[in-house]
Symmetry: C2
Subunit: 305 residues, 2 copies
């Protein structure tokens, strides 16, 4: 797949991959010590929480958080907490979304999804407890010297997760199955369903930024959030299940409106390329310090899985 | 039912009822303006959130929060936020607990439970979004002049809700069906399942308290949290469905271990009376300012529903 215009910047792919792998290993380690150990009671719940939140995924939200922290000189321990919090919210949403009453998906990150590996009741509680843990991590005593900043982090995460954020987007998605949507309606659904948490990932990482920096990364985040979903829709058509690690082709099967069904494949790719260009443009006044954000924009629009 | 020892203080029942009704009306109004309006998109989700969180229940957690705030001179707007947050967490837990994969209960507060009135997927998202909203309310900008205090409120709520609090207690409860438990095991299950949030309700309200006050209300909260559950188990045997507003006798039906199955009815009542006495004793150095907490201890152990 090539969703990008010819003018696109080619990052030093090797160096980006090294950085991404380092951050992925870092967030995995942070999450591993944040999640209660599997031998702490209640053991089944804790083991299922670790099963669902560890060992997989691209960790795009954590990477965005670390990259924004790099631009804005946010303290690493704050970036760690913010990256964990968004990944925990994301993990909880996947566990609940895979349940039989929602998307009913047996496969996640190449493994049986939580309710298949355990059971529905456990999956329900795993999602609930992962959400609480996300807020617990971000509310850790003395995380921020500036407690007002810490309250702001918590407020942003709560809004991004709630009924006018991620959970709201999922509700709109549920109601949209089999219905024709305009591009504006589709966009506003995705802006909530995946965009809100993607944007929060960037903005939490940027908590230490100046007003100008926050404005730039907000614009970046909005575009990259949409691009992420457009590419997701393209991959659902083009990739196979083993590459995705989740069931491919399920949008078409469930008659969900997608960017591909709405715009067609060629136009959807052109749209992803446009969103990528917009994201890059928003960072135009920044140099090396915004490099990881630029590379991530490329990674998100070029990814094959 | 009479769960109380003869030495028990008889509060001015009329005055307490007036106070309780005022606080119940107050929390209802606060929640009504906190929950997104039913005509704000996504409408079905918001209408289902309002259906589940408004118009019912004894609001014991809010009352405990306001009563502790009275003892500790906690600002009313902080008490409002704290009371809303604990009631939203409680409401979310009921919505999820009633779902078919959990307790599978069709009735809640005398009305069809959320998944019966809407559907399972909506109920799942309602619970998720109510949890996010609880944290959003408590993370409101400028809620506390002392932001460190606000972070502390958020941290306490997150721990009380999570895998070593309420959600953890539900997981232990799930695993305990049909199994014999000792009183210690039963106690530790309930200490998490209902005790953690009851205690948090008191401690959040007491955020402005002195170290001595916090110590006293912690002791009060621990006893009252347990008493609440013991009385719940007694009522499940003694009350009928129409009085309870939820299905009576379901513990026995589901072979759940309860204080009644473990201790017998007479001993369970004596135990509730003892816990009441302990709660009253913890407030012995306080006068009129702890009156509502004392009255609530009586209300919780004497309640018929």
């Amino acid at each position: 797949m090539n969703t990008q215009a010819s003018s696109m910047q080619k990052p030093n792919a090797g160096a980006f991959q090294d950085w991404a792998q380092q951050q992925q290993a870092r967030i995995e380690a942070v999450l591993a010590r944040t999640l209660p150990a599997a031998d702490v009671a209640p053991q089944t719940l804790h083991s299922a929480m670790r099963y669902s939140a560890l060992g997989g995924g691209k960790r795009v939200r954590a990477l965005l958080c670390y990259a924004a922290a790099e631009l804005c000189n946010t303290e690493l321990k704050i970036a760690d907490a913010a990256a964990s919090a968004v990944e925990l919210i994301h993990a909880y949403s996947l566990v609940h979304d895979d349940m039989p009453c929602m998307a009913d998906d047996d496969l996640r990150r190449g493994k049986p999804s939580c309710h298949k590996q355990y059971d529905d009741a456990t999956a329900l509680l795993v999602g609930d407890a992962l959400q609480s843990l996300a807020f617990e991590v971000l509310a850790a005593p003395q995380l921020c010297a500036n407690a007002h900043q810490q309250v702001q982090l918590l407020h942003m995460l709560a809004i991004a997760s709630g009924s006018t954020g991620m959970a709201g987007g999922q509700a709109i998605d549920l109601g949209a199955v089999g219905k024709p949507l305009t591009q504006t309606q589709l966009e506003s659904m995705h802006q909530l369903k995946t965009g809100a948490l993607i944007q929060a990932s960037v903005l939490l990482g940027a908590i230490n930024g100046s007003t100008t920096q926050i404005k730039a990364v907000s614009e970046y985040a909005r575009n990259i959030g949409l691009a992420f979903q457009v590419v997701d829709d393209i991959l659902d058509v083009e990739a196979d299940t083993s590459t995705l690690g989740k069931t491919a082709g399920k949008d078409a099967k469930s008659q969900k409106p997608t960017y591909v069904t709405l715009l067609g494949l060629v136009e959807a790719k052109a749209y992803a390329a446009q969103l990528y260009e917009n994201a890059i443009l928003s960072l135009v006044t920044y140099g090396e310090e915004a490099r990881r954000l630029r590379e991530l924009a490329s990674f998100i629009t070029q990814r094959q899985f």
